[in-house]
């Protein structure tokens, strides 16, 4: 039996290669992601172990906030540590973010996406390695005029000891400094690609505007002291929100933080690998289905010779296992190569991610092998069952007919019922109240899966009419080859539908991504076009990446200084935890909170509002859908917790409607500043005086801010195109990841066509004999592939639009008010075209032609005489 299987595998090498390829690509992506993220994780383990090597006990703080800046310790509290028995010395540290280093041209060094910039205190009192950094060259920075930089950024900026260095702080603005020292992290220039700006402690406190405060520190114990006892002693002296752990535990905890951040990426990226495998499973299923029907006579002969139904099934399944296993092994190998390639490419592209020797964990190999083998095996189950049902009689008959097909009505009823179930689950997940049951995501996921199943059950019913229609259109242009292609595509609706299904899945995701981007673009356009009356807005560079990015108050003063400015309003943004309590429900959310000036509503006019949009101290205003989801009405009270200042009661005094206010919860700026303890702006809106255009205003304001490259001045048109560019970037990234699934779907078309050409050898010979030339033969095969692909794309686009619509409707509360179907390109850029659904419809048609080049070539190369005598 094994021999029969292996011979079957070997006898059809094209099929073997294509089936294995689907597995290799999918498994390769999954295991490549694992290997790469494991490798990064391993590198960080090493980094943190080094960083904490010289620290016996690490002092830190914890916070209720997931996104905040962290909490602080008082210097006075920290000083108590020295009294604890067993403490030799305690080194205080203050660390934060929100600074940028300028190059000699006055531009931000190393800007753009990538590891962030930190500011930290570094003082000679610390012995080696307390923060992991030591001064490698020059001296420790002393006083408000001196700074030290990590060697990575110093080299990038070409700075030498004694050079002038300009640093911009989001809180205190521009600082002109002297480079006192260059720091290194152990052997490395810096820690994992991040940028570090060091001051002495008092200067750090003034740059971050956190006077008298610390992030924590490091403790060295006297020789022979029991670390556990010392930790307990320190613990007793410090406030509750302080954390006291051994250096080793701290290193492990930091490494674990990185691992969990990485695991998000691992999951996100490997999802695309699973999608690719899912698409591949259709390819495999269809291949085995066709092969089994082609081999009916051979299988029937085996049956006649005494093979049992189970043995026949075994032969097919063994063949599947063999192919699956080979594909999975090669796939894991391919994954290692992908990881290796990323290690080479990303640093070359300027993305500095720490790595080390590749980490290939047993988990990676096991998951990869199991995924590839199991998916191939499962995909072959139904075809194997069919194979085992081949009757002995089939061997004796000349033309073995296609086994009877399930009735039209039965299929329609069953498919329809599944569809209703899927829709119910989807809508319940999106719009229903799931209460204490499984999370909505589960319902949505199950719903989407079931809807896919229903569509695939129903698609053979549509395959005939739709391919007929597509073929008729094609026939207009190509004549006889088009007609033959159309008839061929229609001859086995189930095969056509199964082939198209693989295309459908990937195109569904593509169409979903396009529809979501199209709708978000529509929402942004609506907000920017109609609802904002400011002429320009001043933003931190990279505002889109970090919603709490900020700049110093002096910027707003300068903007106000322009003669062309009629009025400005300033906006403060930070994180808060909002608790709204009604008799029945309690909602707690960590959310962005805006500090506003009384004139904000003049710049962001609401469509309608209740109450007042000028909150006084202790009063809050919010957008209608936020109030709704918290069951809040005017006059209700909520509790707002600030990370630094703690909890305060607030009263809801205003509810605004309209896209300009989407997501906004605002308190008076005075409340915001006193709660945050610092004054820094997230945005400044400016209106021009009569007769001055937005562009003129921008031109007038820009020179005033020329020395502050950490902010940009934008008109709303600029903002729109920047938003567009951001959106396109995301879309391109997702499409790049989906490309693999699209390719595998198309490989399914290649495979089906190759098998069909083999199956129709005699018929092609006949056509050639009566006058079909080679070119037309090729065209016939390619046209059929194109019809099948477009059929798949049509279903995919339909599903993608539907899922997109459902999702946007479910997110309406979050400010996604526009649902747009992006049929046409939004712009003539690459991403603009890639985001258009019509493009994908045409593209799959063309891809169908391209992916059928090989089978078409095979068909045209058939020798007429051999073909007509083939059976």
């Amino acid at each position: 039996m094994l021999r029969v299987s292996l011979k079957g595998v070997w006898a059809h090498k094209v099929r073997l290669v294509l089936t294995a390829l689907a597995i290799i690509l999918g498994v390769g992506l999954i295991s490549g992601v694992y290997v790469y993220t494991d490798t990064i994780g391993k590198a960080f383990d090493g980094i943190f172990a080094d960083a904490y090597a010289g620290i016996d006990i690490a002092i830190g703080t914890e916070s209720d906030f997931s996104f905040g800046e962290g909490t602080y310790l008082d210097e006075a509290d920290f000083a108590l540590i020295d009294e604890v028995p067993g403490v030799e010395e305690a080194f205080p540290v203050l660390q934060g973010m929100g600074v940028s280093v300028l190059d000699s041209e006055g531009e931000v060094l190393g800007s753009g996406p990538g590891p962030p910039t930190f500011v930290a205190s570094l003082s000679p009192a610390e012995s080696d390695g307390v923060s992991g950094f030591t001064i490698a060259e020059g001296a420790f920075p002393v006083g408000s005029g001196q700074v030290a930089l990590d060697r990575g950024i110093a080299d990038l900026g070409g700075f030498q000891i004694g050079d002038r260095v300009t640093v911009i702080s989001d809180v205190v603005g521009r600082l002109d400094l002297t480079l006192a020292g260059i720091a290194t992290f152990g052997e490395d220039n810096t820690l994992g690609g991040t940028t570090w700006v060091f001051f002495d402690l008092p200067t750090t406190q003034s740059v971050l505007q956190r006077p008298g405060l610390l992030s924590g520190g490091a403790v060295q114990v006297t020789p022979g002291a029991q670390i556990d006892e010392v930790i307990a002693g320190i613990r007793a002296k410090l406030p509750d929100h302080a954390t006291v752990v051994s250096g080793q535990d701290a290193a492990e905890a930091e490494a674990a933080d990185i691992q969990s951040a990485l695991s998000f990426f691992t999951i996100f990226l490997s999802v695309f690998g699973w999608v690719a495998l899912f698409v591949g499973s259709f390819l495999i299923y269809n291949t085995f289905r066709i092969v089994v029907s082609q081999r009916t006579r051979e299988l029937a002969l085996l049956r006649a010779l005494g093979a049992g139904a189970r043995q026949i099934r075994g032969i097919v399944l063994l063949e599947a296992l063999t192919i699956g296993f080979i594909g999975a092994v090669l796939g894991v190998g391919f994954g290692v190569m992908i990881a290796f390639g990323l290690q080479l490419i990303l640093p070359a592209a300027g993305i500095d991610i720490p790595t080390t020797t590749l980490s290939i964990k047993p988990r990676t190999v096991i998951v990869g092998l199991a995924a590839g083998t199991v998916i191939t095996f499962v995909s072959a189950l139904i075809p194997a069952r069919r194979a085992s049902k081949v009757s002995v009689m089939a061997a004796l008959r000349e033309d073995a007919p296609d086994p009877a097909r399930g009735g039209f009505l039965r299929r329609a009823l069953v498919g329809g019922a599944i569809l209703v179930l899927g829709l119910a689950a989807l809508f319940f997940g999106l719009f229903g109240d799931t209460g204490s049951g499984p999370s909505p995501v589960v319902y949505v996921g199950v719903g989407v899966g079931v809807i896919f199943l229903a569509v695939f059950a129903l698609s053979p019913l549509a395959a005939g009419p739709v391919t007929n229609l597509l073929g008729t259109i094609l026939e207009r242009f190509t004549g006889t080859s088009g007609r033959l292609a159309r008839r061929n595509a229609m001859r086995s609706p189930r095969r056509t539908a199964a082939t198209a299904a693989a295309v459908t899945i990937s195109i569904t995701l593509v169409a979903l991504a396009s529809t979501l981007t199209g709708s978000i673009r529509g929402t942004i356009d609506e907000v920017l076009a109609d609802d904002v009356v400011a002429d320009v807005i001043v933003l931190p560079e990279g505002q889109f990446g970090d919603p709490t990015g900020a700049f110093a108050p002096e910027i707003a003063d300068r903007v106000r200084g322009s003669d062309l400015v009629a009025d400005i309003t300033r906006v403060w943004v930070g994180w808060a935890i909002l608790t709204s309590e009604t008799p029945t429900t309690e909602t707690v959310t960590e959310t962005l909170i805006t500090g506003m000036e009384p004139n904000l509503a003049e710049f962001l006019p609401p469509d309608a509002f209740e109450g007042s949009l000028d909150p006084g101290p202790g009063q809050v205003v919010m957008e209608a859908s936020i109030a709704e989801s918290g069951n809040l009405e005017l006059g209700d009270s909520v509790v707002i917790e600030f990370e630094q200042a703690g909890e305060f009661p607030y009263t809801l005094v205003g509810i605004a409607e309209g896209p300009a206010w989407a997501g906004i919860i605002a308190i008076p700026s005075t409340d915001w500043i006193s709660a945050a303890g610092i004054d820094q702006h997230a945005q400044v809106y400016a209106k021009a005086v009569e007769g001055v255009t937005a562009d003129e205003l921008k031109a007038a304001v820009e020179p005033l801010l020329a020395d502050s490259p950490n902010v940009t001045v934008q008109t709303f048109e600029d903002l729109q195109s920047e938003a567009e560019a951001q959106l396109n970037g995301v879309l391109n990234f997702i499409l790049a990841l989906l490309a693999l699934a699209v390719v595998i779907g198309m490989l399914g078309v290649t495979n089906t066509m190759a098998l069909a050409v083999f199956e129709r050898t005699r018929e092609i010979g006949l056509l050639r004999a009566v006058g079909l030339d080679r070119r037309t033969t090729r065209r016939m095969v390619r046209a059929e592939a194109s019809i099948v692909s477009v059929f798949g794309a049509l279903m995919g686009i339909g599903l993608g639009i539907f899922f997109g619509w459902a999702l946007i409707r479910a997110l309406e509360d979050q400010g996604f008010t526009v649902f747009a179907i992006p049929w046409l390109p939004s712009s003539l850029s690459v991403a603009g075209v890639l985001g258009s659904l019509l493009f994908w419809l045409f593209a799959t048609g063309i891809l169908g032609i391209l992916f059928a080049v090989y089978p078409a070539w095979r068909a045209a190369r058939l020798k007429v005489v051999e073909a007509i005598s083939h059976l």
Binding site: L484, R487, L766, A769, G771, L772, R774, K863, V865, I868
Partner: protein, 242 residues
């Protein structure tokens, strides 16, 4: 008849190499006259089908030349050869003559459609009428009997008014009634429309419909017979130890 519709000059056809080498045609020279119904007979494996395929430009020859009219096939590219086949030659095979996805009438007009030529409707009507498939035109091949399928194939061979029709055991799979219908039609095509037909058969009755018989053995022409009738054919076959 002054010139041949098709002729082979010193044609040799060899299949395979080394141990598996088979000489299917051995320096054969033969001509088929215009307006004549020629039957090719011979034992199984004597090269009848091979001769047919080579003469029709479906297969290349190892040595020698094949002419359709004055056209030497060996000088033609695949495209020109395909064009020549669909414009000047008609085929009827023993079985699997029809494209399963096309209806009977689409199968009949296939060579014309491929050539992009208009169908001569009155000729089409008279061909399908004569062959008795006029009421089966909308049917798929799978819905036709074997005899009907072969008559549709014959109609396809006729409809483009080719210079020459090759038929390889066209009645081989048919019962005697269906076989007689088909052969009657071929006979009358030669008589009424001066059609040239070359037909391979091993059936003495079928060969009896022809004007002339060429006997093959071991890839060579071993004999021929003018105005045959079944008794003479059977005698001759016996003498050839068939």
């Amino acid at each position: 008849m002054n010139s041949a519709a098709a002729r082979a000059e010193g044609v040799t056809k060899v299949y395979g190499w080394g141990d598996t080498r088979v000489t299917a045609l051995d320096e054969i020279s033969v001509a088929f006259a215009k307006g004549e119904f020629t039957a090719v007979m011979g034992p199984s494996g004597s090269g009848k089908s091979t001769l047919m395929h080579c003469m029709a430009g479906l297969d290349s020859v190892t040595e020698g030349s094949v002419f359709i009219g004055d056209q030497d096939l060996s000088t033609l590219s695949d495209r020109r050869l395909t064009k020549l086949r669909r414009e000047r030659i008609g085929f009827i095979f023993q079985a699997f003559n029809l494209v399963p996805t096309l209806s009977a009438s689409e199968n009949i007009t296939l060579p014309l459609d491929l050539a992009g030529t208009k169908v001569d409707q009155s000729w089409f009507d008279s061909v399908v009428e004569t062959l008795g498939v006029a009421d089966r035109l909308k049917h798929r091949p799978s819905e036709l009997s074997g005899g009907q399928q072969q008559r549709v194939a014959a109609a396809r061979a006729m409809v483009s008014r080719p210079e020459l029709i090759f038929a390889d055991e066209p009645s081989g799979n048919l019962d005697s009634k269906a076989s007689a219908d088909l052969l009657d039609f071929l006979r009358s095509a030669v008589k009424d429309h001066a059609q040239t037909i070359v037909m391979v058969t091993h059936d003495a009755n079928a060969a009896g419909y022809s004007d002339r018989i060429v006997f093959l053995a071991d890839g060579r022409v071993v004999d021929s017979m003018e105005d045959p009738n079944p008794e003479r054919i059977l005698d001759r076959l016996k003498s050839l130890e068939y």
